[in-house]
Symmetry: C2
Subunit: 933 residues, 2 copies
């Protein structure tokens, strides 16, 4: 890296309609900092302040937690800047400047990092606050909150494992029981000024006792301590878990925003709120949000009191409401996207504390995009980019069955915080919820309110139910982002964490009991309720709803139509049955990319014929057993060909090792022995003989067809006989026969010879002609290295990225759970390589194979059929290397289509020299810092 | 391929001191054909004839077994050529030309393909033969032999599975019992002319009955039929098995030699023999071979009668003997190598039928090479090339223990046909021998005589013992080539195939009983005899013999000294103990390339501490258990460092998955529970928890050190504490610490940080400095693809080609047995990829890694430590890609050194523009036909 000749600017000021930074500088200033600058610039009422850049964070971690020495003088300048604008002074006893210190990363990480409010208060400056507010109790309450927050976050006075309660809470409870002996659940509001003064004393003593250090009185010490705590929180456990889930690289770092305090809690003509320019749950174009009077912003988000809808602000503070409506319009026009913003009203005066693009459900994302394009606020291309591809399948998630819901018993109501329907066993603690989910249970996480500590449980649950908190509470925010069903603020719930029960209306529900929630309407039901398909499924797949009945479907369709316009990379589907094929085609799949024939062998008595085949000791017996399987396979293929109605179908030959088809337990072996009339002992011997130490690397794939060519022959015959039959019915058939696990060119030659020979035989027998291809699945590294030779005979490649990942990384998907978690925590791996293609490893081999394959056969058809085919990042990668299609499970088809369209548009933009793409790419690649600007 | 403008020449003539071809044209004419031409050219007495090229064979198989149409006119010309020289005529009743038709591939494949003799005989031409030989019985015997041979080979009249005897034998036995009723075992010689005439009739009838076709009387039909049969035999099962064992590609094809017959069986002044210019078993410079009077060449090789030493020819036919001695000298001078040749004496006149480089034991190969270099017949560089590297370890094979042999009971004597000592259970049939060997038994194959059908059994056996046949019998020839111990012609053995017994001197040995054979002296012993190390081992390793006592050692040393002169690529060893290290160093290893630390954990109570570690539930308990292991490891490493005396030692961190260290059976689990005081249930749970579906791709290698860094820490500490100790003793120590299974650069970084930190700690504690490297094992494909990034921190790469082969090919070594055999038979794979590096797959990744590694760190140390390190072809590959060293098991060190020297010399020659290398390379690469000339 060349040495910077110019010193980096570590502190960016904003205030009074001017700002050093702007909204585009998110990488350097974080999302919050950049948008505070931008709002200041466009004239919105933002309290002045400054942002310490993410570079300081990076410097801090790269240099053993040391700051650049130029930092502190600049921080001082920033404070002076606020003092000048507000006519206040930091640490002054008359007109003290109080500030907040907040984190602000490039991408919002709600609740993940630490915040300190009311900073600057001490025994002297409190007088100034009393004077300014005219409210002594408020001032002392602010002070004791500040000490509590600072003590917890900066000085680390927290609950120890051997304690039952937070130490500050413990002290407060102690005081309450002295003041109100015999009473339980005394409200904080009953503590008067003197009590609060006493509390301040006791809190300070607690801090001294636990840390050995006094609580710092000097505001500058407070400020440096808080800035350090915010930077430190970038590496706390919660933040690490969150980043892993959302693939945020740790090198990004966080910025720190220091901003003059405004108080929403000075009385009833003050308040705080959070709002969205449109409804982030349904996507409807209504002003959406909530506020609390006499409260600070954190109170709204924390969900301690249930707030009022923002629309009611009109009645309470009409002027502020008018201003807010104006802000709403300005924001959306300026940012050209739905904004999620925070405001505080101090004595009827509106202040903007934050704005950002609003998190949204997939439902809302699609509606926002389609409607904003109709409103000409954005183009249709932008609309496509606006919908996060990996959330699109939420639209296909089930809802409650309409009939079932009628007979269900609604036991409570809450807020519709995350749309969709979920049913599961209730768990009252994140760890237990996660453990139950690991066992395969469907879990509803039920909490009084959630906090970042609950994240693991929320990830594991199908739905989240809270007793407190609004639609922008932690629970709601996180649930929507994850696409989880959520009902928040269901205040009738009485939750007992010790007994592990939920009591509603006198009725007791224990952990493990079933409940169901509808996050679209905010209702809670007792017991299990059958779920029903989403509207889109009903329209497209089940045809139980007319297109005109569903606005959701219409928005979805519009989006998909635009996608079609944007790209030509096809999306196929992985389907093993006519029904799956039909579903995928309804979603826009242009064929089958992977039909796994082995799944067909497990039904009914087929498995017996299959087992007979495996147990055969000579070729004649084996052929006899295969002949029993032939008609089944033929019928299956015919069904699939009909469902595809002329679209191509990639059919893979038998792939798994034969032992997967044999019973392993003694009892089952005996049963099989009776059914097929072979001694149990013999079956056992064969089971032992077929046992493999590493079945993944064993006798499977084309290795079966090489040793038992009669299997490939039977499968070829089934395919072509089915094709002949369906062709005679007048339907076109385009089989693409795929030889799996090829590593040596001769393997492919030998197998494709069989296919072509049988095709010719059947064509002659049936008097028809076939339009077919023979190709291979590229799924072991060797195949990528000799792809030029394989392509001499193979007409297509389909990348089997599941196995290619396992072999390239030497990592079994089944066994990697034990260490992959550590790997992600240590950031050895950027993402789970089984979910998203390992581009710098597996990706290189894919590129090699593409290049070599094309060198021999320029028009070779190239596709991908691993699980990665439905992962947006992987789809983008496939687009980049120039594949003809991706293939994924039917429900992921819309996601893949959207991702494909987004890639095509991104490429167009890049080609046009636009630079809007850089952020997206940088995110995935953890680019080194020098590339960030 | 561009069209040939010139038509290929399909037939090459030789005779009368002139020849179309010469000795260099082995690819086109086969070994036999080329040398017949060469011998003709240098004036040796060769019966005239012609060679049909290998191109015809290739054409034949490439065109559905059709011949090029230009062939037959040329064959006719060839016959005319013989007729002219000999004044005979093909099919003539007075002076008929009779011919032999023999196969002849590029490399000799003894006994693998078919031969037809006496061709041209029929009811008319037999009169000419009677006239010429004056021996009617001889003529009729020749005729019935011809019919029998032709009927068997060309017309396929062979034993059917439901028959007990060969059909021709059956007919002959029938005739004998009619003529000599009541007698058993009537000798063929008792059949007189009339009987033979009758036999000819019956043989013809048999052929008509079995094939529906009459026996062809037209000599031209006989000739075309025989040529076809020889080409057809290229693809028979025996030939395929043989080619697989010796890696001969099927595309090479065979040539066909048609040559005028000479008769060694016309009476007592005729004979046939086989001889070597020097002793091919011991390497001694003596005329070596054997002959039979009144016999055709096939009789000598088949071992039906035991022949007499060639030296005795002097007494029988002194003139022929003188000529033969002359031929011996001419041959060796001309071919500059030991020749193995066949001759026939017809009425005292000597004819040469074949010569080729003599197969030899490793012992002889070394002696030939060293002595011929001393004789200035060849250069020292040629001497190096003359010893097949993959046989060199035969010199290190054990011999019988001197003491044990004294008390052993010699029960029979035979010929010293394959040197060395072998002890094992006797088996009388190839299949049973092979089956027993597969179960892990040491097997001696005992046969009356062997034939190509016994090949599988011979491969499986440690030694071969026959009752009949000389030192050039099939058994002896094949055994020497394979490096098997062999005693042939032990005529006291009475073998009963039905009862499966061997009777010697009235004593009965049943199948499964132990016997021992000494192939160096030709002795057979009852029971098991302890084997003792070879002389080289005794001199170098055990120091129980003085160098001057062993000529074998001295030749070996000379060769190794030349090797040292020829190359600079080092050979290291894979060793886990001081003893192994010392042995390898004695063989010339320049360090340890792989020390597997896990092997150290299995001894004594270490395994208990290891298990305690694995069963630990928290880091403190785990550290406590690791501390118990530390002193063991430290002592082991100290011992190894001392044995190496300053040479470098690559030490690999713990590699196998932890479950490999835990007991699996209930009983063992209970025992362990008692020993370490942990409930059995808990151990069982942990065993289940650690179970892996594909352990090869599981939680192992550096993945252990990542999840349990304390293990890497302990191992680092053991290494450096041991190093400090040994350094203080005054011995240099050069540890090279190797992190296994790295796939991601960060894995390496994290682990090497531990190593470097601990090294610094120990250096400080002990007040010493360390000279060490930290590097990685490249053994999964991903590592090769990001080798540039890994090389930023890694100071060396060692290619772990075992695992790299498994992952690159997606093929488990443990499970591939079930299909790899088919793969080799179908020639999908040229060689077993676990024995010899898969150069076009795995090799490409190695090259990628070498290039990428060097791009970041030009001086990176590169080595290989898989099993391939001792395989000559793989060593040559390593030389080619520029590795610094190979590492192999101690006993393979000389082999690897020789292979390394050969590669260096080959490279020099190639650089000097010489072209002698082409044959060798072509062999491995199965070059397409167009490259062959």
């Amino acid at each position: 890296m060349p040495k910077n000749t110019k010193k980096p600017k570590y502190v960016y000021l904003f205030g009074n309609k001017k700002a050093d930074g702007d909204g585009k500088m998110k990488e350097l200033l974080g999302g919050k900092g950049a948008n505070l600058a931008e709002m200041t610039r466009i004239g919105l009422p933002v309290p002045p302040g400054f942002t310490i850049t993410t570079e300081v964070c990076t410097h801090y971690y790269a240099n053993k937690r040391k700051y650049p020495k130029e930092l502190w003088p600049k921080v001082k300048e920033g404070v002076v800047h606020m003092e000048k604008i507000l006519g206040k002074k930091f640490g002054d006893k008359n007109k003290p400047l109080l500030v907040s210190v907040r984190s602000g990363a490039r991408e919002s990480m709600p609740g993940m990092m630490d915040t300190v409010l009311n900073l600057g208060l001490n025994e002297t400056t409190i007088n100034g606050l009393i004077k300014a507010s005219g409210n002594e109790r408020f001032a002392w309450d602010s002070y004791r909150r500040f000490i509590q927050m600072y003590g917890d976050i900066v000085m680390g006075v927290q609950k120890r494992p051997d304690e039952d309660h937070e130490p500050f809470e413990e002290v407060m409870e102690g005081l309450k029981s002295e003041m109100f002996p015999g009473e339980h659940h005394v409200l904080d509001t009953r503590l008067d000024t003197n009590a609060l003064k006493e509390l301040v004393k006791r809190f300070k003593a607690l801090i001294k006792e636990r840390t050995g250090h006094p609580f710092p009185d000097d505001p500058w010490d407070q400020l440096t301590g808080s800035i350090g705590a915010v930077f430190g929180s970038w590496m706390n456990d919660r933040a690490i878990v969150y980043r892993r889930k959302y693939n945020i690289p740790s090198e990004w770092g966080t910025a720190v925003n220091v901003q003059a305090m405004v108080f929403g809690n000075t009385g009833e003509n003050s308040g705080s709120g959070v709002a969205f320019t449109r409804d982030p749950a349904t996507g409807e174009k209504v002003f959406y949000g909530e506020f609390l009077t006499n409260a600070q912003g954190e109170d709204v988000v924390a969900g301690v009191r249930t707030p009022r809808p923002v629309i009611e602000l009109k009645d309470v503070m009409p002027k502020a409401h008018r201003e807010l409506e104006d802000v709403r319009n300005k924001l959306e026009k300026h940012f050209r996207d739905v904004q999620d913003f925070e405001f505080t009203i101090e004595n009827e005066e509106l202040f903007m504390l934050q704005t950002r693009n609003g998190k949204r459900t997939a439902l809302a994302a699609v509606r926002f995009a389609v409607e904003m394009a109709k409103e000409k606020l954005i183009t249709w291309e932008e609309a496509i980019q606006r919908v996060p591809a990996n959330q699109l399948d939420q639209l296909l998630a089930p809802v409650f069955d309409r009939k079932a819901i009628k007979s269900a018993r609604c036991i409570a109501k809450g807020l519709a915080a995350g749309p969709g329907a979920a049913t599961g066993k209730i768990y009252l603690n994140a760890d237990r919820a996660a453990a139950a989910a690991e066992k395969g249970e469907k879990v509803l996480l039920v909490r009084v309110e959630t906090s970042p500590e609950d994240l693991r449980g929320m990830i594991a649950a199908v739905g989240i139910l809270t007793a407190r908190g609004g639609v922008s509470s932690h629970a709601a925010l996180v649930a929507r982002q994850m696409g989880k069903v959520c009902v928040s603020g269901a205040s009738d719930l009485r939750i007992d964490y010790v007994k592990r029960t939920v009591t509603i209306d006198g009725e007791v529900y224990a952990e493990g009991d079933f409940m169901s929630i509808d996050g679209t309407v905010g209702e809670v039901y007792a017991g299990k309720i059958e779920t029903a398909p989403s509207e889109i499924i009903q329209v497209l797949v089940n045809k139980t709803m007319e297109p005109s009945e569903s606005a959701t479907y219409q928005n979805f369709k519009k989006l998909m139509d635009w996608c079609k316009k944007a790209t030509k990379m096809g999306v196929r589907t992985n389907a093993d049955s006519p029904k799956q094929a039909a579903t995928a085609v309804a979603f826009g799949a242009v064929g089958i990319g992977l039909c796994r024939t082995e799944h067909m062998f497990f039904e009914g008595d087929r498995i017996d014929a299959m087992r007979e085949m495996i147990l055969s000791e000579d070729i004649d017996t084996r052929k006899k057993a295969l002949n029993k399987l032939l008609p089944y396979q033929r019928d299956d293929f015919a069904g699939i060909f009909r469902a595809l109605n002329g679209l191509p179908a990639t059919i893979r030959f038998l792939d798994p090792p034969l032992h997967e088809f044999l019973p392993q337990e003694d009892k089952q072996i005996k049963e099989l022995a009776n059914v097929i009339g072979v001694p149990a002992e013999k079956i056992k011997n064969r089971v032992n003989e077929l046992h493999e130490v590493n079945p993944m690397l064993g006798h499977r794939g084309c290795r079966l067809g090489i040793v038992y060519p009669e299997i490939s022959e039977m499968q070829s015959r089934a395919i072509f006989e089915a094709a002949a039959k369906v062709q005679k019915e007048g339907t076109k058939v385009r089989p693409e026969i795929m030889i799996p696990l090829v590593g040596f060119p001769a393997e492919f030659q030998l197998q494709s010879e069989i296919v072509r020979r049988v095709a010719a035989e059947v064509a002659k027998e049936e008097g028809v002609k076939f339009n077919f291809l023979v190709g291979t699945m590229i799924e072991i590294p060797r195949a990528t290295l000799v792809a030029d030779e394989i392509a001499r005979d193979a007409q297509f490649f389909s990348f089997g990225t599941n196995d290619l990942t396992q072999t390239t990384l030497g990592m079994s998907r089944d066994d990697s759970g034990s260490f992959l978690r550590h790997y992600q925590e240590l950031e050895i791996l950027p993402q789970n390589p089984f979910a998203s293609i390992d581009q710098s490893g597996v990706g290189k081999l894919i590129q090699t194979a593409v290049e070599l394959g094309r060198s021999t056969r320029p028009d070779i058809k190239l596709g991908i059929c691993g699980e990665h085919g439905g992962d947006p990042d992987s789809v983008k990668f496939c687009h980049k290397v120039g594949l003809s299609y991706v293939s994924c499970s039917p429900y992921r088809v819309p996601t893949a289509r959207l991702a494909a369209a987004q890639s095509a548009l991104a490429e167009q933009r890049a080609a046009a020299g636009a630079k809007t793409k850089s952020t997206k790419t940088a995110k995935k690649k953890s680019t080194p810092k020098s590339n960030k600007r």
